[in-house]
Assembly symmetry: C2
Homo-oligomer: 281 residues x 2
């Protein structure tokens, strides 16, 4: 029976663990210093809390944490693996830029840990649905095979370390950038007295875009504060030589304005809801 | 039989004229100083070239020219109408920002010309199709009714002078901004070794977005040079207080880079074509 370790038991980490456990795996985790809520969620998913050194008894160690914690987790894993001759491979599955992934891998220099770059696209696993898709780049030895055998949808990318992280950035740039674009233009139309006509024109001449905006703008409200950092990360990923970096710096500010509005007066939320709620003709 | 004047006989102006003429109208135009090509196109559409003062014999004067010429045309119309007690109304149909529209209307101060703000959404009229849609704001007296009677699709906006121009900006911001976003992220994926996976993921989880990008990116290549100015106009429209203005300054640079590539090495065009051409799985 396969034995994994997952560091991170947030909504995504615990749901990935549950999928693996439902397929017969044992999933170790490390909970020292975590909140009661996190401990409760890990236990509810069936994860087994162990001491930090015991994490290395797994055949694969996964990191599923907020982007800002990714390096710290890698350092912990490098530390506990340092004395081992055959430590388990380590897969970072976090939404970090390829450059951050390179810096993370550098923490393992001189050790025998195989470091892999992964990215999760889609929401947390839900019983009865096959997603999300987990992309892993440079996995020539198919270290991720046991995850596949335990019910996760894995795709191996034929790219260098960082390619999976880049994929995640590009996908988010299109998917979330599109929401930012729509949000900005609907608000501009609203303050110019053109909202009703814009909605009617979109529903007629760009019905697919209209449908997607109407669904994804309200979904964005509670996430806007998180998307600010994600947009900045995409701008960094694109780099100073790519003019598109400017687009994402603007996107970060658009979502920051939305996040403030969501927590505050909700004037913008009301304007958007009014446009989206109008009948399309 | 209605009698219109259209200043501008480019692809759009001449096609609008033809639609009106096909419905029994006479369309006057002013061709002094225009190129042979323009004169030939106007005549092919059935437009009647007249002297500038004779334009005022129409019951409605329309301006359909490149954005940079809109003010000059308005000044011409203000000039020929100045001595008249009941000059024909004037409709500006150009892709200009609301602020430019206000400046244009100011050229008629002290005259009795009724100035209306319009915008054309969609390509030039084609026999057998009902589009494009022409939006006109503030047309309380329904001056645009004769255009409707002669086969054009007219929508009157219940908004101030500038609302139709704003609508055009917002629509273009979504429609063309989306193409800019997709272009930027597909190119980033291409240089990161993640293009194939990105295309596969898009076609599976965002099939409507994938389809639209695959169609609209190649359509953009020959227009990229024109879109640079359009994106800058949208940034100006949004104004310094709107963080989304930054998005469109970035978009202008993305299309500028594409325009240079299209005329030059076509390295980016090839990268995009390769991604778009890949089978989606």
């Amino acid at each position: 029976m396969p034995n994994f370790a997952i560091i991170g038991s947030g909504a995504m980490g615990s749901a990935v663990a549950k999928r693996l456990i439902d397929h017969g795996a044992t999933v170790l985790t490390y909970l020292e210093g975590r909140s009661e809520q996190t401990i409760a969620r890990a236990k509810a998913a069936g994860m087994v809390p162990v001491g930090r050194q015991e994490l290395t008894k797994a055949e694969l160690i996964l990191s599923i944490v907020p982007p800002a914690e990714a390096i710290k987790v890698a350092e912990l894993v490098a530390d506990i693996s340092s004395a081992m001759s055959a430590p388990p491979p380590f897969i970072d599955l976090n939404a970090i830029a390829p450059k951050t992934m390179q810096a993370l891998a550098a923490r393992f220099e001189g050790s025998s840990v195989e470091v892999l770059d992964g990215a999760i696209i889609g929401g947390p696993p839900v019983t009865g649905k096959s997603g999300p898709t987990i992309y892993i780049s440079g996995d020539i030895a198919e270290r991720s095979r046991p995850l596949e055998d335990c019910g996760l949808r894995i795709r191996r990318l034929d790219g260098p370390l960082g390619a999976a992280s880049a994929l995640k950035m590009c996908y988010a740039g299109i998917n979330k950038g599109f929401v930012g674009l729509g949000t900005a233009m609907l608000l501009a139309a609203s303050r110019s007295g053109a909202a009703e006509s814009l909605k009617a024109e979109l529903s007629e001449s760009l019905p697919d875009i209209d449908r997607r905006l109407s669904g994804s703008i309200p979904d964005m409200y509670p996430k806007a504060y998180r998307w600010v950092a994600e947009m900045q990360e995409i701008a960094d990923f694109l780099g100073e030589n790519d003019p598109a970096a400017t687009i994402f710096r603007g996107m970060a500010d658009v979502f920051s304005r939305m996040a403030n509005d969501v927590e505050g007066s909700r004037v913008l939320v009301e304007q958007l809801d009014e446009i989206i709620g109008r009948p399309g003709s």
